[in-house]
């Protein structure tokens, strides 16, 4: 009954109006017709209701109706002066009806309905004379849909935000707090990893944020936090400069997060019996003697001269499994202009092609030499048509992981088109002494024409549209000099771990942070350790949030700070005017000029 009467009140205002005012200034104890709409059937009931309204009194004086479209067909026009008690049933209609006896006889219901009608009419009338309108509760609710939480009509709407869960690590930091608020305003679901769950933290964060308590150094709490998230914004930093802290938060924390993220996606992929789109593709794993099959060792010379020189002392290389089970590619090249290489025709698993990947990750242990990786592309049948592309790979002493994005490969023959990973059929790793860097201090006295490369695996890094993890690092200019080295070292280690993880990353290095509102000054995006100005926390937060869905932000690291207004004619800086206006996507044009995969 209550439900019906509320609906009646809503729809009755029109017919109440139709019933109440009259031409000709006749006062009448208003008859009010209201329509009870129930399901498909319309039951029109005319009930006499005493309306002691000023509305009828004065509206009865004169009111002209401009246009009127009558929707309910059961009412005769204008003859509402008489109180009709006879109900009319225009359509046969099924169960939508109410027992008419109840309606006529029930005074409380009548009184309530008449009051609602009057309120409705009065509200509309008085609203005409008012300056500002205060929304009624139903409207508040409707407006809530429109304007709150990233609805379509608000300034901060981001399409697809409703389905994205973002984990904010470091949600209590200066940047983290603003990031959380911006995400909430745009309608994202937010999870926060905090160390303590006390009242202060809860007050600091908006209420609908999902709080996970734990430490970044602890893999299990990170796993719990990452599960269910599509993206991660990592703004945590060590609060002190104790090395242990730095390593835990800036280095190990990032590793934990990337590992947990990959694990989570692999887990999801397993449960649907597919492959995770973010996992790396294994091209070669050197575990046993069998894995060396298909790899050929060749040698050659850059010089077309086929006459062996008198000073040729020979070239030798081998690729074999050593005693401790490692695959070692070693040898020496004393021939001038010679090289040795080990190559293999790739055999990828069925259905995988390299075009869904955008780089190679090699885990090798070298002695500091640099090698050249060559990819041959072309039709499989006709190898003489292959085009070759090369990229340099530098190794350190000891084991390291080297990331070589496909964008780094250049064609051997300058007229060839850029590398198309889809057509790659052969991978070669080449060592050539003439290109070794002379001042490699880690070698000491050993001859740069020797080399030894322990190969662990070769994997391909997946490509993607958007970035997965946004990491806020630092440039170091805001830190006092005696601590700077340590902090930067830890941060760099974290950044490298992120780059090699195979996830889409965006690394933002802001200048010294300032507590100012954002959106005021122009920003400079640069890749080169040249920035010197500060930047406000709110601007950094804005960049993090905008980078989540920007395809130009994927796999880029850059510095950002305010523009320095006094410098004139400085072409080093790519100036991006960030105007505080509505549809503001300054990030894409700014980042599109920066180098990828740095």
């Amino acid at each position: 009954m209550a439900a019906m009467s509320s609906r009646c009140a809503a729809s009755s205002s029109s017919s109440a109006f139709l019933g109440a005012p009259l031409p000709g200034g006749r006062h009448h104890q208003g008859s009010c017709g209201f329509v009870a709409a129930g399901g498909g059937a319309k039951t029109t009931v005319r009930v006499a209701a005493a309306l002691d309204t000023e509305a009828t009194a004065k509206a009865g004086k004169s009111s002209s109706r401009a246009r009127r479209a009558r929707k309910d067909g059961g009412e005769p026009g204008g003859s509402s002066s008489t109180a009709l008690l006879a109900p009319t049933h225009p359509d046969g209609g099924g169960g939508g009806g109410v027992a008419l006896d109840d309606v006529i006889v029930n005074p409380v219901g009548l009184g309530r309905r008449s009051r609602q009608i009057f309120d409705e009419v009065w509200r509309k009338f008085s609203r005409l004379g008012q300056m500002s309108t205060v929304a009624s509760p139903e409207q508040e609710e409707q407006e809530g849909v429109l304007f709150r939480g990233g609805g379509p009509m608000c300034d901060f709407a981001v399409p697809g935000a409703q389905d994205t869960t973002v984990l904010v690590v470091g949600a209590t930091s200066r940047i983290g707090r603003i990031v959380v608020r911006k995400l909430m305003l745009r309608g994202y679901n937010v999870k926060a990893l905090v160390r303590r769950n006390d009242q202060e933290v809860i007050d600091m964060l908006p209420r609908s944020v999902d709080i996970v308590v734990g430490d970044v150094g602890d893999a299990s709490s990170v796993q719990a936090a990452v599960s269910g998230c599509n993206k991660v914004i990592y703004c945590a930093t060590a609060r002190s400069t104790i090395t242990g802290d730095l390593n835990r938060v800036d280095n190990q924390g990032v590793r934990n997060v990337t590992k947990a993220f990959q694990d989570y996606y692999n887990q999801l992929a397993q449960s649907r019996a597919g492959k995770s789109s973010k996992s790396k593709l294994s091209i070669a794993k050197f575990k046993s003697a069998k894995s060396l099959q298909g790899w050929e060792v060749n040698q050659g010379s850059y010089f077309q001269d086929i006459y062996p020189s008198r000073f040729d002392e020979g070239t030798d290389a081998s690729f074999e499994i050593s005693e401790n089970g490692q695959a070692v590619f070693s040898g020496f090249v004393f021939t001038r202009g010679g090289y040795v290489e080990v190559s293999k025709r790739l055999s990828l698993p069925l259905g995988s092609t390299l075009d869904r990947y955008d780089g190679l990750l090699l885990s090798v242990g070298g002695n500091g030499r640099s090698y050249v990786i060559i990819l041959e592309t072309g039709p499989l049948a006709d190898t003489s048509q292959s085009k070759k592309y090369f990229a340099r790979m530098n190794t350190k002493v000891g084991f390291c992981r080297v990331r070589v994005p496909f964008s780094d490969f250049r064609p051997v023959n300058p007229q060839d088109p850029p590398l198309d990973p889809f057509l790659v059929h052969t991978l070669t790793i080449r060592f050539e002494p003439k290109k070794q860097r002379p001042g490699d201090s880690s070698q000491g006295a050993s001859d740069p024409r020797n080399f030894q490369l322990i190969m662990e695996f070769i994997k391909a890094l997946p490509t993607g549209q958007e970035t997965d993890i946004v990491l806020v690092s630092c440039t170091g200019s805001g830190i006092e000099p005696n601590r700077r080295e340590q902090v930067l070292k830890a941060k760099k280690a974290g950044e490298d771990a992120l780059r090699r993880s195979g996830l889409g990353y965006t690394i933002v290095c802001p200048g010294p942070l300032q507590e100012e509102p954002g959106g005021q000054r122009a920003l400079i995006f640069d890749q080169g350790n040249r920035i010197s100005q500060g930047i406000s926390c709110a601007d950094v937060a804005d960049i993090c949030v905008k980078a989540l869905h920007d395809s130009t932000a994927r796999n880029k690291s850059f510095d950002v700070c305010y523009e320095h207004v006094s410098k004139q004619g400085d072409e080093l800086y790519e100036l991006v005017a960030h105007l505080p206006d509505k549809a503001n996507n300054y990030l894409a044009p700014a980042l599109s000029v920066l180098e990828k995969n740095t």
């Binding site: 004065k58 479209a69 004379g129 309108t133 205060v134 954002g518 709110a538 804005d542």
Partner: protein
């Protein structure tokens, strides 16, 4: 405590309102003295006279008080149409926002969802105000009384208390929203009060920013767009007044730009939308965008004015009469707008960035139409039929 001493000084400066005289037909216009230190707000008729001393309490030293961050803001009236957009904008720009809301049994939770802190206070109870101002740099005042409450308690007495408190506690910027042409319509109580409040702020010595507004687009949704969609009757007047509606999000954005602009300090700006519309034009636009004819009831302005006169006869409808006083403006002012070029230039804003009413309503009708129908369909499903 510094705040309590200034607060004790507050109520004594407010003269107790005179008792309302019995109804009288003779409307004598009381002469208005815009004296420097004494302000009267006497509307027509024998209404209560509120006097207030513009000398505020000397700001006591708060050297050992709470440190104030320049990014901290207190928004009064944060649950209103304008207030919530101001809160959203402030949160997005990185401010720490504190919202002053009245204690309610079911509080408005969306503010906390966005990340603002909420404090409880009531402008009609001045003793609750000082605690909310601790550690605040800027106050943005978007509050007004609800139509069912008497205007005077919130809009005048409450505001005066707030301003005096702000001055005493050393608030460094006070932003106040007023109404366009409020100085030209002393017969409308709300406008008169806004005008007096403006003068009070200007005399109080705060670093202020007063923004006069013409009208909000958000209100048009509930008044015209929703009834047209639901095929209900739309009520409009035949007044020739043209009002330049503006999107509250744009108002909020421009407010923050103006707040940070040193040239706009201690200034009175007016924000008007890009074009001034009559109600008939708005209804026609809605009809065109919705694709269906409206069920329009045109109430002549004369009827409104007559209602106002009628309600003034009765004491219990006096508040209603105050609210309906705007009908006087409707019949007199023909254009409720100002040219905005100078303001845009001062703020460094491009006029193309301001949303027009056509675009606003178009966004509404294309995006929300479906959503609302879904909502209504869902709500209909929960009705139980016996």
């Amino acid at each position: 405590m510094a705040s309590s001493t200034s607060l004790a000084a507050l109520p004594s400066q407010l003269a107790s309102p005179a008792r309302r005289a019995a109804l009288s037909r003779s409307a004598t216009a009381r002469p208005r003295h815009h004296h420097h230190s004494l302000l009267r707000a006497p509307p027509k008729g024998c209404r209560l006279v509120v006097t207030c001393n513009a000398q505020t309490a000397v700001p006591t030293s708060i050297a050992q008080g709470t440190p104030v961050r320049p990014t901290s803001i207190l928004v009064v009236g944060a649950t209103g149409t304008l207030g919530r957009q101001v809160v959203r904008r402030a949160l997005d720009e990185g401010y720490d926002v504190r919202c002053l809301v009245r204690p309610r049994p079911a509080p408005a939770d969306f503010l906390r969802d966005w990340g603002a802190t909420v404090v409880n206070a009531d402008l009609s109870k001045p003793e609750t105000i000082p605690a909310t101002l601790v550690g605040i740099h800027t106050v943005i005042d978007c509050a007004t009384g609800r139509p069912e409450e008497p205007i005077r308690t919130v809009d005048w007495e409450g505001k005066v208390a707030l301003i005096q408190c702000a001055k005493a506690m050393g608030i460094q910027k006070y932003v106040f929203y007023s109404i366009h042409n409020c100085d030209k319509h002393p017969e409308v109580p709300l406008m008169e009060i806004k005008h007096c409040t403006e003068k009070f702020i200007q005399d109080a010595g705060l670093d202020y920013l007063i923004i006069r507004l013409c009208g909000f687009m958000q209100g048009l949704i509930g008044q015209y767009a929703v009834p047209i969609l639901e095929e209900k009757s739309v009520w409009g007047t035949d007044a020739p007044t043209r009002i330049a509606y503006m999107d509250t999000q744009d108002v909020a954005r421009l407010t923050f730009i103006a707040m940070r602009n040193e040239k706009a300090s201690k200034k009175l700006l007016t924000f008007a939308g890009p074009r001034a519309w009559t109600t008939q034009e708005v209804i026609t636009l809605c009809e065109r965008l919705a694709g269906q004819d409206a069920n329009v009831t045109t109430v002549p302005v004369a009827v409104l004015r007559f209602t106002r006169q009628l309600t003034r006869f009765f004491q219990w409808t006096n508040d209603v009469a105050d609210r309906l006083a705007f009908s006087e403006v409707l019949s007199s002012d023909t254009i409720f707008s100002v040219p905005m070029n100078d303001t845009y230039q001062l703020l460094g804003v491009d006029s193309k960035d301001i949303l027009t009413l056509e675009k606003y309503l178009q966004d509404y009708f294309t995006n929300i139409l479906k959503k609302l129908k879904d909502l209504k369909a869902q709500s209909k499903q929960t009705d139980i039929f016996f």
